[in-house]
């Protein structure tokens, strides 16, 4: 079973993934339409609380994508992000959020096709996860944010 009209928020860094998403667009690669992208200078600007906020506001999925490790425009922003997001990912079950609804990855400016694949597969994953009935119990999150 899967739910169709999900809502997904994407946090993308300006230099790599946002540009990669642009490239997917320029190449006219069709993608599911459930994702809404928020542009940031760097994944290092992604506050884990912002992600929880998104879940609390009813997001079915949250996707974070930045430059590949080593390629960060700000040298090390994505390493900071990785550390923070790893911790967050491990916390999600305790907060009653199916970890399948969260994903972070790296997509470079030249990986338009890969970006489209990421959107495609994550959207499917989210549909599956929320369709399976494990709609978030946001109480825990409410307490945190």
């Amino acid at each position: 079973m899967s739910k169709e009209n999900v809502k997904i928020v994407g946090f993308l860094c300006n230099w790599c993934s946002y540009a990669g998403a642009d490239m997917a667009g320029t190449a006219r690669i069709r993608q599911p339409a459930q994702l809404r992208i928020v542009r940031l200078p760097c994944t290092g600007r992604v506050d884990p609380l912002l992600i929880l906020k998104a879940f609390q506001e009813g997001a079915d999925g949250v996707l974070v994508s930045g430059c590949h490790p080593g390629d960060c425009h700000y040298n090390e922003g994505n390493y900071h992000a990785r550390r923070r997001l790893e911790v967050l990912a491990r916390m999600l079950p305790a907060l009653g959020i199916d970890p399948a609804r969260f994903h972070y990855t790296w997509v470079s400016a030249s990986e338009g096709a890969r970006w489209a694949e990421v959107v495609e597969s994550f959207t499917g994953q989210v549909k599956q996860a929320v369709g399976g009935g494990s709609v978030s119990q946001t109480n825990e999150v409410d307490k945190m944010v």
């Binding site: 809502k7 928020v9 300006n14 230099w15 790599c16 946002y18 540009a19 998403a21 642009d22 997917a24 667009g25 320029t26 006219r28 690669i29 069709r30 993608q31 339409a33 809404r36 992208i37 928020v38 542009r39 940031l40 200078p41 760097c42 290092g44 600007r45 992604v46 506050d47 912002l50 906020k53 998104a54 506001e57 009813g58 997001a59 080593g70 390629d71 425009h73 700000y74 040298n75 090390e76 922003g77 900071h80 923070r84 470079s108 400016a109 030249s110 489209a116």
Partner: protein
Amino acid sequence: MRIGVFVCQCGTNIAATVATDRVVEAARAMLGVIHAESIQYTCSDPGQRAIIDAIQQKDLTRVVMAGCSPRMHETTFRRAVQRGGMNPFMLEMVNIREHCSWIHPDIDQGTLKAIDLVRKGVARVRRQAPLSGSTVPVTRAALVIGGGVAGIQAALDMADAGIPVTLVEKGPTIGGNMARLDKTFPTLDCSSCILTPRMVEVKNHDNIKLIVNAEVDQVRGHIGSFEVDIRRKATCVIEQKCTGCMICQEKCPSRAPDEFNAGMGESKAISIAFPQAVPLVAGLRKEHCRQFVKGRCGVCQKVCPADAIDYEQEDEIVSGAFGAVVVATGYDLYDWTGSYPTYGMGRYPDVITSMQYERLLSASGPTGGHVRRPSDGAEPQQVVFISCIGSRDESVGRPQCCSVGCMYTAKQAILTKEHIPDSQSYIFYIDIRAAGKGYDEFSRRAQTEFGALYIRGRVGKIYPRGGKLIVMGTDTLAGEQVEIEADLVVLATGLTAARGAGELARKLNISYDGYEFFTEGHPKLKPVETNTGGVFLAGACQGPKDIPATVAQASAAAAKVIGLLSRGELETSPVVAAVDRNRCVGCFKCRDVCPYGAVEQEQLPGGRAVAHVIDSLCQGCGLCNVACPPSTISLKGYTDNQLIAEVVEVLR
């Protein structure tokens, strides 16, 4: 709050799958929006005019422009709203083209998403404050990395414009790959005849400081003021003393591979790459020298009339300040020996690379310009050329076209006929790519005047039989398998980025593609810029290209630098972090995470220590913002409030 929303149709690029009128309608209902309209081509002159008119007539204080990616036109529209009298940062661009109309064929889905995105933009711009940057002085000096024809051209152009240039070359001489070539397509003029005068000019130019055997060690700073450490590697020869007499090379007992000759022939442990090298200075390679390997020799030191040898010489760091950097590190030849087992992987001495063949053709090469095959020194009669080695070949992970192979192969076939009149050349090709001016005519001449036989097909196997190399191929036009008993096989090996290009890119903070070629700012409109301000590209380091294209790009990069350095100061980006002193608890977590050392400690009159951001160093990454426990340090233009508002609005 008076917000204007402009929804671009981009002709049909957007309008075909986003109902822009419905987006306009929805926008009108959004909080703070007092004006909304749809425009056919907003970036056109009338389009920009319409925005300016609306600002002035309706007294707009904020603008949301929904159209292409901000990476495309943000600057255009910031300028437009500024002309309209607004602070340029009160503009928000919403991407309904790359992220919407182009990827969602369904008009309802596209329209709904576009409305969501516009709502997000409106919410964000409502929380935007006017921003302005500060100015920083510009260092009027340029650094050129790589001394091939690209680096030479860029250095000379800038130096001629009066800019002090430092040219850093990894090898012992400038000239790069072009110095190795025999003659050049499409005019067949001799490579060294046109290149060496330019090399000498570099050496003699008052505005150029040349540092060879050197690489960039560290880069700090940003556009307008880079600080660069250059590591000059020890060569055991004191450059200022060496006269280039080459006596040391003659007397040195240790043989070493001849890198200049692409591994054909031998050189000595101490040597000068070639007689026209610039600078004409000997260099010692420790890994081949007896003095270092066995611990005793000292011959060169004894024979050197200039007392130029210093075995104790150490690496030296030269530091410099520059306003701009031109990267011109060029290419290396694809190493085919690891991936073409069917061609012998380098086991057959008479299967050679195109660059090795250039050296065989060259009068200054190891055979003095007589084409002799490596195995037995015989003059080859049947010469087979194979195109696209390590190019256009997914099976070795390299799908791209080398862009020069077809042309230099035609050239080499012509030169073969000139060198050996009774020889026969065969060229296995997939397509003949000869798109430049006079290029197709040139490759035709190889066929009509010089008798080169073009065979459309790719070779399957090369193997030795009775002193010949059997080349098994296909003539796809004849539809038949073919076989050639060749004396010499020349592989048109593709071009890869110079070794270490990726590492250099990371130091310079510029991006590169999967093959380590550096990425230009925009494939059409910013072909010499990079994504890092003040760093420009020239030549084959950006992608395979021939000499005319290399030189054109080098001059373009030089022009960009000249333009940049002609300004006394630069405006910095206002997207920087700022601290709310009253709430700062002085924990300095922000300082710990800042990659640029942009946070310093500030002592308040009461004695309390708080964080302070140095605007000119801050690059606006926002790491500090997340690290700060009380969220006191905040990235302008990407404040917590703004981001939360965006999230809330798209989830409504």
